[in-house]
Amino acid sequence: MELTMKVEKRLGAFSLHADLAISGERVGIFGTSGSGKSTLVTLLAGLQHPDRGEIVLDGECLYSSSKRIDVSPQRRRIAVVFQQPCLFPHLSVKNNLLYGARRCKPEHRKIDYHHLIEVLGLGDLLIRGVNNLSGGEKQRVALGRAVLANPRLLLMDEPLSALDDRLRFQIIPYLKSVSEQFGIPYLFISHSLVEMRLMAEQVLVVAGGKVVEQTDAEELARSRMGISPVGYINLLRLANPRRVGHLYAYPWGDGEFVLSAGNDQPEALFELSSKDIILFKKHPEATSARNLLKCTVLSTFGSGSRVGIVLSCGEGRLVAEVVEPAIDELGLTAGSEVYAAIKASAFRRMG
């Protein structure tokens, strides 16, 4: 996907001045609520008209005030997945799914209905009424409906915000797999940094109606560490757990993590804040923390008043954070060795 947008839109006291050029298959738009993310989405999908400007997607001009071009939403082939599932209450699950597919030109049809049902696990939902589905199921149907319209771009406007944490992380693999399996690029809009990192490679940061930064998800997370109350969140996909009393041990890097939030699932995603990692210069004699890992400092980065320490432990990577004086006291430079202590209860299972 190659997208250039240079648009202006005034909505009451708020005005949007977006100027962006981006190419990629998985692009995120990050910003707080009221920053103009959703306006950007509606302008791109043609659901609102810019006051002036130009929108070009993959070489095709969708809107141009100077050339008087305004492609109608139904011809843009940009499907939107909204925060609310927006399923048609008067139609069955199947007819909801096929709403866009039936309106798609034969030459654009490339997505197989049965394959999609399988990928999204919708088989059991087909016979149920739309109003008898749970929030997560509804959002999966909405996603399927958007994909079956055979769009050239999927716009996901905070599709996970209305779901609770458990469901959110259950849906994410679906969002990613439909894009990968069916080759549809997406723009993922969210105010959640964790969602951004799980969903997007490149990220546009929107604030006050303007695109203020173009970066990648990892870089964004590091730069926000200093201002975020939760620090940098290490996202750890851990597998093959072993029970150790009431705790679970997951292989990681050279060693293993012992944690209390594990379960018997073969694989799970955990978050660990950079604030929950304590660094020691030498091996402490004894510690209540269940995890004591010998790590090598790969690099350091500044973020606000704090310093992020990128640690390596075999193949595993962790980001810890310290304040400036600790850097000198521990002599933390690239290549130095440290011991990282992490409590078993510091890991939080996502989903």
Binding site: T42, A45, G46, L47, S72, P73, Q74, R76, R77, I78, A79, V80, F82, Q84, C86, F88, P89, H90, Y99, G100, R103, C104, A142, R145, A146, A149, L155
Partner: protein, 227 residues
């Protein structure tokens, strides 16, 4: 209770025919007007709103007189119709026009209430899934406002059955031609000894209205269960 006279049967038949025709003729325009006022922005929208609602606030007699001026032999529309060989004034068609004009705001208001409660994002979703405006109207907006269309139709039908003021001016009170139930009742009440006949027509009137209301409730319940 005295039995009904042949002219009473005519009045009943005519009332139903006028009310039904007025509804059928008005419905597409009512839906179009409700759609435009609910979803589209255009210049002079407030003016159209006032014009559509005027028959609701004006006395029906005034509406009847204005229609007479418009459709009469000297009225510009009347002249146009006459040159095409169509006579409207003092025919059942005039009664239909009177009923349609007076009932139109009720129809539009009811449909609008339904349309305005539809989540805008459902419409946006339909558009982004490839549906044109007209397609969205047919496949999303109309099915979701079916209950309010039904409510508006019942209201307009019932209002047409009771239409008196505008009808008597523009269509007259000709038995067998333009005399609907209310006009027949008026005739009976104003002639000596006509009260019992008036009462039986009143009962018929109540009966028809009750049937319409029950029908509405039944259909509305069915639609509610479906969604």
């Amino acid at each position: 209770m005295p039995s009904l006279t042949p002219s009473d049967y005519d009045a009943i038949r005519l009332s139903l025919k006028v009310a039904l025709t007025a509804l059928v003729v008005s419905l597409p325009f009512g839906i179009a007007a409700a759609y435009l006022l609910s979803f589209r922005e255009f210049r002079g929208k407030a003016l159209y709103e006032v014009i559509f609602n005027l028959p609701l606030t004006l006395p029906p007699v005034v509406i009847g007189y204005l229609l007479l001026l418009l459709l009469g032999r000297k009225g510009w529309l009347g002249q146009l119709l006459e040159s095409a060989g169509i006579q409207v004034i003092f025919t059942w068609k005039a009664a239909v026009i009177a009923s349609a004009v007076v009932g139109f705001p009720l129809l539009v208001r009811s449909i609008r209430i339904g349309m305005e409660t539809i989540d805008q994002q459902l419409i946006q979703a339909a558009r982004s899934l490839g549906a044109s405006r007209f397609d969205t109207l047919c496949t999303v907006i109309l099915p979701l406002s079916a209950r309010s269309i039904l409510a508006g139709s019942s209201l307009m039908f019932a209002r047409s059955l009771g239409e008196f003021g505008a009808t008597i001016i523009v269509a007259g009170n000709i038995p067998g031609v333009t005399q609907t139930i209310p006009l027949a009742i008026y005739d009976y009440v104003s002639s000596p000894g006509g009260e019992p006949l008036a009462l039986s027509l009143c009962l018929i009137s109540v009966f028809i209205t009750v049937v319409v209301l029950f029908l509405h409730e039944g259909l509305s319940g069915k639609l509610a269960r479906r969604s």
